[in-house]
């Protein structure tokens, strides 16, 4: 992966190259060994390219190769390895390069503006809607239904930004307190500045190989044993935002494939999607790693810390490492890989780990993408 930063000199293509190159180096492979390339990137409006996938193809290593871009909003990053997985599992490819890229900085005056165009053009855009609204509405609903406090939610931001201090590519690592979060500038109450991940430029990549080839390439392969994805109805104002049903369905799909019946016991650690701090709690519950409304308690008790019983976002997450959308999801998959191989350095979780999970969320509180990895 590249550094995640607010603005990068590299174009999207160049960032994709840096990430893809690093992934190939790490696997000891060259581009000629790659059978197909899958790229993930979120809205075209950020980078400023129509058909963004076509624009990025050389960077992702797709020059004169079978190449496809997949796109499920914020869920894209974790979906890229899922699509790469079916390339391999189908038998059509032995080695697939899976690349996530996002360059949000070109859009002026602020990348946030692109999010206005994700809303219904007739019924919602005329109200001047922003992405922050929908997060704030969901956060409030979650707090209301499960009686969750802003302090509990702030603990997530504190943990993840601190975890990111050990991530060499991180954009916003920091040692902050709950009070810092609570006192930070209100943006869209109850959302405050420090509840939110930044906008970022960055890319990340992973290499998938068939079982036979993986065994040849390394003595310590990491296997993808479960994949799941799910998209809920467009009509987000018709759903109770307190609980992500779509994520539960995506998780159940992945658990079934990985023969997991008790995720709380069988998943050793997880990289869950945390564009906002409350989202980590919300997603832990949707993933059945905590009961409904129980994730704040686990967080309070330190269970989700790196030395806890169920480490969540040891990488530092989007809140700490940064949020180049599709790249951030791939970063999570890379973190699970490093953790499972014991290569996460200072970020290595304390307990021994055999099975990890990476998850991303996207769209109008609508998409869940889940990958389960084992060593």
């Amino acid at each position: 992966m590249t550094l995640f930063r607010h603005r990068m000199l590299e174009t999207g293509k160049e960032m994709a190259f840096e990430a893809a190159r690093m992934a190939l180096d790490s696997a000891g492979l060259e581009r000629k060994d790659v059978d197909a390339v899958v790229l993930g990137s979120a809205p075209d409006a950020f980078d400023g390219f129509h058909m963004k996938g076509e624009q990025l193809l050389d960077g992702a290593g797709g020059f004169r190769k079978p190449y496809t871009r997949v796109f499920v909003g914020g869920g894209t990053g974790v979906f890229v390895p899922i699509a790469a997985w079916w390339h391999v599992a189908s038998g059509l490819a032995d080695v697939v390069l899976a690349v996530g890229e996002e360059k949000m900085s070109p859009l002026q005056p602020h990348p946030q503006y692109a999010f206005w165009t994700i809303f219904d053009q007739v019924l919602e855009r005329p109200l001047g809607v922003t992405l922050l609204w929908i997060f704030a509405l969901e956060m409030r609903r979650y707090m209301h239904v499960y009686n969750v406090s802003e302090e509990d939610i702030a603990l997530v931001a504190v943990k993840n930004k601190a975890n990111a201090l050990d991530h060499p590519a991180a954009q916003l690592p920091a040692r902050i307190t709950v009070e810092d979060v609570l006192k930070s500038e209100p943006i869209c109450a109850p959302v405050k500045r420090l509840d939110v991940s930044p906008t970022s430029d960055g890319a990340a990549a992973v290499v998938l190989a068939s079982e036979e080839l993986a065994r040849k390439l390394t003595d310590t392969p990491v296997w993808i044993t479960g994949v799941g994805w799910n998209v809920d109805t467009t009509y987000w104002t018709n759903r109770d935002l307190c609980y992500p049903e779509y994520l539960e369905k995506a998780a159940r799909m992945a658990y079934k494939m990985a023969h997991i019946t008790n995720p709380r016991k069988e998943i050793d650690f997880a990289e869950v999607y945390d564009p906002f701090d409350y989202k980590e709690l919300h997603h832990m519950e949707g993933l059945l790693l905590a009961g409904k409304g129980e994730a704040p308690k686990l967080t309070r008790e330190g269970v989700t810390q790196r030395d806890g019983d169920l480490p969540i976002n040891p990488s530092g997450g989007l809140l700490g490492v940064g949020n180049p959308i599709a790249a951030a999801g791939v970063m999570k998959v890379a973190e699970v890989f490093w953790q499972l191989r014991g290569e996460a350095g200072k970020r290595q979780v304390k307990k021994p780990v055999n099975r990890g999970l990476a998850q991303a969320w996207g769209d109008l509180m609508q998409v869940g993408t889940v990958v389960i990895m084992e060593r």
Partner: protein
């Protein structure tokens, strides 16, 4: 602006393997002063979306001061915003229903920013409002008015404040805002 080879990644696994995280950050000063070349472009993409059967009728209803929903006779849900099909049963919906122009606040937020992330002069209260007469949980997105942001609560009963008839054009903004029913 040199290219950074930032952060050597300490890996164990018995071998020395160092991973490079590449990238050349642009500092806020460099971005502002434009010490490197930037290509600037502006587009104005214009669209004329076909609203289709369901939304066209909904917009006509708004122009007439009514909130319309649709009913699926299989799952017996009354849906708003209306659609030609029931997404649960995957079939055409059966009939139109005129809903009330009151509702219950399902969730709300106080927004201090515009959609380009600039600060608003005055905060705006936005809410998902479950429309009365539709099935429980059937909300729409709108804004609240005539209320102090600090007094808004989940569960609050609200009523549509319509624009004057001659100003209504068949748009969601024909409802100027929703206001609390009881005096707070």
């Amino acid at each position: 602006m040199g290219r950074l080879d930032a952060g050597w990644h300490g890996c164990n696994n018995g071998e020395v393997k160092r991973l490079k995280f590449a990238g050349t950050p642009i500092s806020p000063e460099e971005w502002r002063n434009e010490s490197v070349f930037f290509k600037k472009e502006e587009f104005d993409l214009k669209y004329a979306w076909d609203t289709g059967y369901a939304i066209a009728k909904f917009l006509e209803g708004l122009k007439a001061g009514k909130i319309l929903g649709v009913k699926c006779n299989r799952c017996e849900r009354i849906l708003v915003p209306p659609r030609m099909f029931c997404e649960k049963c995957f079939r055409k919906v059966d009939e139109w229903v005129t809903l009330r122009d009151t509702g219950t606040v399902n969730t709300f937020s106080v927004s201090y920013v515009n959609n380009d992330a600039s600060r608003r002069e005055k905060p705006l209260v936005v809410a998902v409002i479950e429309i009365h007469g539709a099935s429980p949980g059937m909300g729409i997105l709108h804004v609240l008015g005539e209320v102090e942001p600090s007094r808004v609560r989940v569960g609050m009963q609200v009523k549509a404040v319509w624009k004057p008839e001659n100003e209504r054009v068949g748009a969601i903004t024909d409802i100027a805002y929703f206001k609390p029913i009881e005096v707070m």
